[in-house]
């Protein structure tokens, strides 16, 4: 079971002077249960790529299959397949529209044709996931919430669909560090408890490095690197620099120490690892 992209090319405004190739011959398989991070600078094709995963964009060339079903075939099978992929866009709070929070979250499940009892169960599930108490918030207007809370309502709306594949495009942009940690903590928890496949697009290398089991680096519409985060940060320096993405702050610190002449193992991805590596080097007497 997987999402497969077979030789995808996507061209914006084809046949006009503004024609631009946003994806260029991308081959990719996202297997069930993976936690995939996608990074790349603005305009590298990340968002275009993820909009193919649930059929929002139709590739100019190539095909997208979810669990073997071509998303752009005719018939109910393709429609069912598209529903397996839940998508949280950038700034999802801009998409809230209902009068109450529970109605907003219920919109998706209701469109799936579920009965009212199941819809309420889904709404509670979604609210529970994002840490919003049903009793307190269900009947409030989503537009009276803080930005961080609105973001959670929007994410709850996607969780309530119980997708097999969860795609999130920059879910933490504009949240404070605590809000960011909460959202990511919940995504990790969901991944671990339900085995949902997660595809996370982010500028924040630190978060991706910490969470993803597989990292995809995009540049100029192509997949430049596809490996585990630690392998990429260790060996992919040049490609990362060429792709215009930052290494995590810890990696940057360790490289700075290395450049200063400290023979430290610079592959650390967390503060704890960095501290251990520095202590080993310093206590080994190799101060410089």
């Amino acid at each position: 079971m997987s999402i497969t992209l077979n030789n995808i090319t996507y061209t914006y405004m084809q046949g006009t002077p503004y024609e631009r190739k946003a994806l260029d011959c991308v081959d990719l398989e996202i297997r069930k249960g993976e936690f995939v991070g996608i990074i790349g600078h603005t305009g590298s094709g990340k968002s275009t790529l993820v909009q193919h995963l649930n059929g929002l964009l139709k590739p100019t060339v190539g095909e997208v299959r979810v669990d073997g079903i071509d998303l752009h075939a005719n018939g109910t099978a393709a429609k069912e397949a598209r529903r397996k992929v839940g998508m949280v866009f950038q700034y999802p709070e801009h998409q809230l529209f209902e009068e109450t929070i529970s109605e907003d979250i219920a919109f998706g499940p209701r469109n799936l044709g579920l009965d009212e009892q199941e819809i309420e169960r889904r709404v509670r599930l979604g609210m529970d996931f994002v840490g919003l108490s049903y009793d307190t918030f269900a009947k409030r207007s989503p537009f009276r919430l803080s930005g961080g809370q609105m973001r959670r309502v929007a994410i709850a709306g996607v969780i309530a669909l119980q997708p097999d594949y969860l795609v999130l495009d920059e879910p933490s942009a504009g949240l404070d560090p605590r809000g960011r940690d909460e959202i990511f903590g919940q995504i990790i928890h969901l991944h671990q408890t339900t085995g949902v496949t997660v595809v996370l697009v982010s500028h924040n290398m630190e978060d991706i490095a910490r969470m993803a089991t597989r990292l995809i680096v995009m540049n100029s519409g192509k997949v430049k690197l596809d490996d585990t985060p630690s392998q990429i940060f260790r060996h992919g320096q040049q490609e990362l620099a060429a792709a215009g993405v930052d290494v995590p702050p810890v990696t940057r610190l360790m490289k700075r120490l290395h450049a200063q002449g400290l023979a430290v193992d610079d592959s650390a991805l967390t503060v704890e690892q960095a501290v251990q590596n520095i202590l080993q080097t310093v206590k080994g007497g190799e101060r410089c």
Binding site: S146, L175, D246, P249, L262, V271
Partner: protein
């Protein structure tokens, strides 16, 4: 020189939709000297943006005083002078750009001030040069990158020749490259043009570069000082739900493991030099 901003017991209280009294700002006292670069940090809802909106009279104090450039913001007749003194830049560049061509967007402010056309052209030239966007003057803003759009938004504010720039999370929607562009531009304006900067951010590596850091929680200022005084308080900041620069975090943990390191380390360079003089 003196102080460009003086807040005395500034309070902002409002009634929410359920009839509860919300104290968005409580007894805030602060001054900002001319030419200073002040970073403001705090979690969502701590009052940072409410504070910023007082500085150019988008919000007025419900109690206390807000004095900007020697003008009391609560006096109606001062409104335009206050808004001209303090330029605001917000998070989302797409919400701040009004025209279809970059130079027209930058000209929007001075046009509204009733400045003669010849001078407007001069101001637009200057403002675009200051943010390094001259070559894009005839471009359409929606085709620019996020960092470039934000620099156009800053140019639009600069064309009004403010004494003070207030930036409310100007880099929150940008990628790392765009963030660097914007921060470098703001520093250049502060250093070369002596524009006072109030810079609200969630990115601690940006706050580290300020002259002074102000930490807010529940509508109050709870800490302030030089970055090295604030960011060495790793545990306290984490408890507040804020990040700390990774170098400060690593240095603290190394000290706990018995390594002799100065207390003031907050940047990668400082840690590198301390470990390898």
């Amino acid at each position: 020189m003196g102080d460009i901003i003086k807040l005395g017991n500034l309070c902002h209280t409002y009634t929410d939709h359920e009839g509860n009294l919300v104290h968005a700002l409580e007894q805030v006292n602060m001054t900002v000297s001319r030419g200073e670069f002040v970073a403001v940090i705090g979690t969502n809802g701590s009052g940072k943006s409410t504070l910023a909106k007082h500085l150019n009279a988008l919000l007025l104090p419900t109690d206390g005083k807000c004095i900007v450039n020697d003008l009391d913001t609560s006096q109606d007749e001062n409104l335009w002078a206050v808004r001209q003194s303090v330029g605001m830049v917000f998070q989302n560049p797409d919400n701040q750009i009004v025209a279809a061509i970059v130079e027209e967007d930058v000209a929007f402010g001075p046009e509204n001030l009733g400045i003669p056309p010849a001078q407007i052209i001069q101001r637009v030239d200057e403002a675009l040069a200051l943010v390094g966007m001259e070559e894009y003057r005839h471009h359409a803003p929606h085709l620019l990158s996020g960092g470039q759009k934000q620099r156009v938004a800053i140019a639009g504010v600069l064309a009004m020749r403010p004494a003070c720039l207030v930036l409310d999370e100007p880099t929150a929607m940008l990628d790392p490259h765009g963030r660097e562009e914007v921060l470098a531009t703001v520093h250049k304006l502060n250093k070369n043009e002596k524009i006072t900067v109030i810079y609200i951010t969630h990115f601690m590596e940006e706050a580290v570069t300020a002259d002074r850091v102000i930490v807010m929680e529940y509508g109050r200022i709870i800490m302030q000082g030089r970055p090295e005084e604030i960011f060495i308080q790793v545990e306290k900041l984490k408890h507040l739900g804020l990040d700390v620069p990774v170098a400060a975090d690593v240095a603290l943990k190394l000290r706990e493991q018995g390594l002799q390191l100065p207390m003031t380390i907050i940047t990668d360079d400082e840690l590198a030099v301390a470990l390898c003089p």
